[in-house]
């Protein structure tokens, strides 16, 4: 495993282009585009203000930089550096900006969710979509880029509009049976739309592309409900994480529950492997005063850590949430399927130091990773069943069915990994610190072995 040198970045804005060739980073109001393989700067763009959002277009030709405070969006072309485009939303304000799947339209959501403005870069045409709903996930494009589902709120009722992205033609518009719609998500094959209610009610609705209600699922009543919803890449499973610290898996034929995964505080009597991160402070003995150790003296304060396999039963540290506060820190908030749909990684919010990995073939717990500090981010390798996670420490952790490893990021100045993202090839990993970033290259030869 190799690490690149450290680069500056701000707001953790750092993205690899969809084709995997370029790396765009924002430093204050500058946008830097580098070649991923050489890390040499290819282009440098200067925006009007500090960039608050940056996004690649789907064809990797354009980069969108949004400055929400100014209500401005600037678009840069990689092929024609002197081409420029500036969109001003004016006094109405801007809270969100994104590309349409074709990379020729920009969707801006105005303040107070008054409307969604669709700007065309081809015709300079502008169109409005009224009554968008302010919620967890109000807009979702289907995987093939054909359709957009938008949550709307009119007359105290929830509606879903399905648009054809090609010409923004409204294909379907239907009312949903929700009290307060919280989010929607297309299935990866683009034929089923999952819609879920706010946390006050456990309700998941499944709509066909043509607006027919396929199924309704509710696990329980009178308690805080759905916290997160994720489709498996094969569209076969719908995983629903909820406030009762459970994940329920629905199947794609009958839309009934297949199984549920509990997140118990005491793990016993399973075949799961419990990996526990153990920290070791390097002992300062007589042989530690060698030259070698002095050269890496900057990392003297960094603790070594490794994983140990805990014998069952294991007690997991649990933080009891404050019941009087809104949005209690309990329940499954993050769900992620591996690219082959074989594994599901989850995080329960009152067990912040633990990641759970479930086997979707055997429908049981595969591994539990207990870290020494709270987990910030985890992401699956887009090619292999391999999970990378970080805990805002100087270490990077990797899990695969073969085992678990903890790697110290060998940079000076205490590089703390706040977030990470995989390169689309799965060969490298971008590690984001507070103000810095660093690339981590996987040793591909070793992996193939």
């Amino acid at each position: 495993m190799n690490f690149s040198e450290v680069f500056k970045q701000t707001n953790q804005l750092c993205k690899v282009s969809p084709d995997g060739k370029y790396l765009a980073t924002c430093v204050q109001y500058r946008l830097v585009v580098r070649d991923v393989s050489t890390l040499q700067i290819l282009q440098l763009y200067t925006c009007l203000d500090q960039i608050s959002h940056m996004e690649w277009s789907s064809d990797s030709l354009f980069i969108l930089c949004a400055m929400y405070k100014r209500g401005l969006v600037q678009v840069w072309s990689l092929e024609q550096p002197d081409w420029h485009c500036k969109i001003d939303e004016g006094s109405i304000g801007l809270v969100s900006s994104r590309w349409s799947p074709d990379g020729r339209h920009i969707l801006n959501t105005t303040e107070f969710h008054l409307r969604v403005t669709v700007w065309s870069l081809c015709t300079k045409a502008v169109s409005y979509i009224k009554y968008p709903k302010a919620c967890q996930k109000g807009i979702d494009f289907s995987r093939d880029g054909c359709y957009m589902a938008l949550a709307e709120r009119r007359d105290c009722k929830d509606y879903v509009s399905v648009f054809v992205c090609d010409d923004w033609h409204l294909l379907r518009h239907f009312e949903t049976e929700t009290q307060d719609l919280a989010g929607l998500e297309w299935s990866p094959n683009g034929c089923v739309l999952a819609v879920w209610d706010s946390c006050l009610e456990y309700k998941v609705l499944l709509y066909s592309l043509d607006g027919r209600l396929l199924s309704t699922y509710s696990a329980y009543e009178w308690s805080l409900g759905v916290k997160s919803v994720t489709w498996s890449p094969s569209s076969q499973f719908l995983a629903i994480g909820s406030y009762d610290e459970k994940v329920r898996i629905l199947n794609h034929i009958t839309w009934k529950k297949i199984t549920q995964f509990d997140h118990p505080a005491a793990i016993n009597n399973t075949k799961a492997v419990v990996y526990k991160e153990v920290e070791k402070r390097p002992a300062v003995g007589s042989d530690d005063l060698s030259l070698h150790n002095i050269t890496i003296g900057t990392t003297l304060f960094n603790t070594q850590s490794k994983y140990e396999i805990c014998p069952l039963p294991v007690q997991i540290p649990v933080v009891k949430p404050d019941p009087d506060r809104a949005n209690p820190k309990i329940g499954v908030s993050t769900l992620a399927f591996s690219s082959d749909s074989r594994y599901l990684a989850t995080r329960n919010d009152n067990m912040t130091t633990v990641v759970w990995v479930w086997d979707m073939q055997k429908m049981n717990l595969e591994a539990v990773l207990e870290q020494t500090s709270a987990i910030r981010c985890f992401q699956w390798d887009p090619r292999r069943p391999r999970l990378a996670l970080c805990t805002a420490t100087t270490k990077l952790y990797l899990w695969s069915p073969a085992g678990c490893v903890s790697v110290q990021v060998p940079t000076e100045g205490g590089f703390q990994v706040q977030s990470l993202s995989w390169h689309c090839s799965g060969d490298s990993l971008i590690l984001l610190g507070k103000e810095q970033l660093c690339l981590c290259y996987m040793d591909t030869d070793q992996d193939e072995k």
Partner: protein
């Protein structure tokens, strides 16, 4: 109270007992003259002495004689009457008087005996009474205690009942509370939703107004500034929004939906085909399993034959269904499922029948043949033992073969090895012999211990006897009166002879028996308690082992001892010879030990 009561009669009886014993002592016939004087010293017998003295004087002897005779006659002692030796004289004819006296004494003794018995009886009774009373009081206490307990339990039950009542009332109030809270929640929820709706409407209105205002203001800033327009990503030109376009969109949507459904249908079809295949296979196997059994038991019962017919029909149907499966038409599917269902039913019936048969068979086995499994067990055990034996032999043969091979391959080394083996073997044998010798030694030790014990006991007894003899001689020497002498002598002789005779035969029991016997004779009982505890000194042992040549009784016992010692010597010699044969070093040691024990 009861205890106090019972204690009184026991005391009196004890007093009686003492008196009786005293009187018994005084009634010994040898010392009548002394007796009277002795009796006179006792305060209790004083009155009787006075009576006697007043009863007969020199003057009224004949009257007395007459009176006594009358009395004797009334008592039933008609055998003899006391006469005066000389009419009018003071003397009495001795023989009848003595006879009468003797008989009176006999009567008296008998009476005393019965009295004693009765007293004992009474004592026993009183003790049982006491016991009963104790029992009674204890039971009373128990009763009281259990009553108390019962009342306590009653009390706790009452308290618990009360608690239950209060808890029930509590529950009721809690339930009410819950209901109230639920209603409150419901009202709050409705209130909240109403408020939320109102607020939302307001917000929507505000938004509407805001957007209206923005539109009215003709916000100049709202603009897009592009250097030059881009082409579409797909390279096509944009279309007009027309009905045709919308229709095409619809078409596209349905197409994608259709594609999805087709894909899912295909996968389902595949799955279905797989399942059907499995079903077919299952059915075939079922038929295969069922058919031979049914043919064998065909005609046994009408039911079975009926089933057989069914299954035949079924098979035909199954065949037809198999043929038509490929067309996957609905009729065929129905047939298939039906046939499977029927086969399954049959299989289930069959299984149930088998189950019941098995249980019956087991019952039968359990009821009439319980010994058989044990026999088979034993057989099995025997067989296994044989096998083990065979295995051992096999291993042995292999070892031998190995050794042989070693022998052939190496000469000098193997010779040494073999030598080693032989010495080892010898060692083993020696060890075995040593063990045997040890065992014998142990036996010998035990015998020796027995012998010393016997010798000690003998010495003790001999000492006792010596003392006895001394006392007896002393007595004889002191009491030279021929009358008493004869009696005492004879009794003591009989006793001593008995004791001596019993000595060699039953050493263990004699001491105990003697203890019991000698309680009546104070002279014999004296040495016992001191010697039972004390360990005899070596001098005593010597004395007992050496011959003491004066008394016949001692010689008698001595001979027995000598015989014993000779036998032991024989055994010793044998042991020695054996040990000498086996192990030279040890024989010396053992000899030394023997010498020690002998001296």
């Amino acid at each position: 109270m009861g205890e106090w009561w019972t204690s009184v009669p026991t005391e009196t009886s004890m007093g009686n007992y003492e008196i009786s014993s005293i009187s018994h002592v005084t009634m010994s016939p040898s010392r009548q003259n002394n007796l009277v004087s002795m009796c006179s010293s006792l305060p209790l017998s004083k009155s009787s002495y006075n009576v006697i003295s007043a009863f007969c004087t020199e003057d009224n002897i004949p009257q007395c004689i007459l009176y006594i005779n009358q009395e004797l006659a009334s008592l039933g002692l008609s055998c003899a009457c006391i006469e005066a030796s000389s009419p009018g004289g003071a003397g009495l004819s001795t023989v009848p008087a003595m006879n009468a006296m003797y008989e009176l004494l006999q009567i008296h003794r008998r009476n005393m005996c019965t009295l004693e018995e009765l007293e004992r009886e009474q004592l026993k009774k009183s003790s049982t009474l006491e016991h009963m009373q104790m029992n009674n009081s204890r039971l009373k206490d128990q009763l009281e205690f259990s009553m108390r307990e019962k009342s306590g339990l009653h009390e706790t039950e009452r308290q618990l009942q009360l608690k239950i009542k209060t808890l029930q009332s509590c529950l009721k109030t809690e339930k009410d509370e819950v209901q109230k809270l639920q209603s409150i929640i419901a009202s709050r929820a409705s209130q909240y939703s109403h408020d939320a709706k109102r607020k939302e409407r307001e917000a929507a209105k505000l938004k509407e107004r805001l957007s209206q205002l923005l539109v009215d203001r003709k916000d100049k800033k709202l603009a897009i500034d592009v250097l030059n327009c881009l082409g579409r990503s797909d390279g096509k030109r944009s279309h007009w929004k027309t009905a045709k376009a919308t229709a095409s969109h619809e078409g596209e949507m349905y197409k994608s939906l259709l594609n999805d459904y087709e894909a899912s249908q295909r996968s389902l079809m595949l799955e279905n085909a797989e399942l059907k295949k499995v079903l077919q296979q299952m059915k075939r196997e079922m038929i295969h399993i069922l058919s031979p059994r049914q043919s064998s038991t065909k005609g046994a019962t009408a039911d079975d034959s009926q089933e057989q017919v069914d299954s035949d029909g079924e098979e035909k149907m199954g065949d037809s269904s198999r043929e038509t499966l490929d067309q996957s038409c609905e009729h065929a599917r129905e047939q298939l499922t039906n046939s499977i269902r029927q086969q399954w039913r049959k299989l289930r019936n069959h299984m149930e029948k088998l189950d019941s048969q098995a249980s019956q068979a087991q019952n039968q086995l359990e009821s009439n043949k319980e010994a058989i499994p044990r026999e088979t067990h034993e057989d099995e055990m025997e067989r296994m033992r044989c096998e083990v034996q065979q295995c051992k032999e096999f291993i042995h043969a292999q070892q031998q073969l190995l050794q042989q091979q070693l022998n052939t391959s190496f000469d000098d080394e193997t010779a040494a090895l073999l030598n080693d083996c032989y010495t080892l073997e010898e060692k083993e044998r020696l060890k075995e012999e040593w063990r045997l010798f040890e065992e014998q030694k142990k036996n010998f030790e035990r015998e020796r211990k027995n012998f010393t014990e016997a010798a000690i006991r003998l010495g003790r007894e001999k000492k006792a006897f010596e003392e006895d003899r001394a006392s007896w001689l002393k007595n004889q020497f002191l009491n030279m009166t021929p009358f008493t002498d004869r009696r005492r002598c004879s009794s003591s002789d009989g006793q001593s002879a008995l004791s001596i005779r019993s000595e060699p035969e039953m050493r263990m029991s004699s001491t105990k028996a003697e203890l019991a016997k000698s309680s009546t004779y104070a002279t014999f009982s004296t040495p016992k308690p001191t010697q039972s505890a004390a360990v005899p000194s070596t001098t005593e042992l010597y004395r007992t082992l050496r011959l003491i040549p004066d008394s016949s009784s001692s010689r008698h016992s001595n001979r027995g001892r000598w015989q014993e010692s000779s036998t032991i010597d024989d055994g010793d010699n044998r042991a020695k010879s054996k040990s000498r044969v086996r192990c030279g070093d040890l024989s010396i040691f053992s000899l030394g030990e023997d010498e020690n024990s002998l001296t």
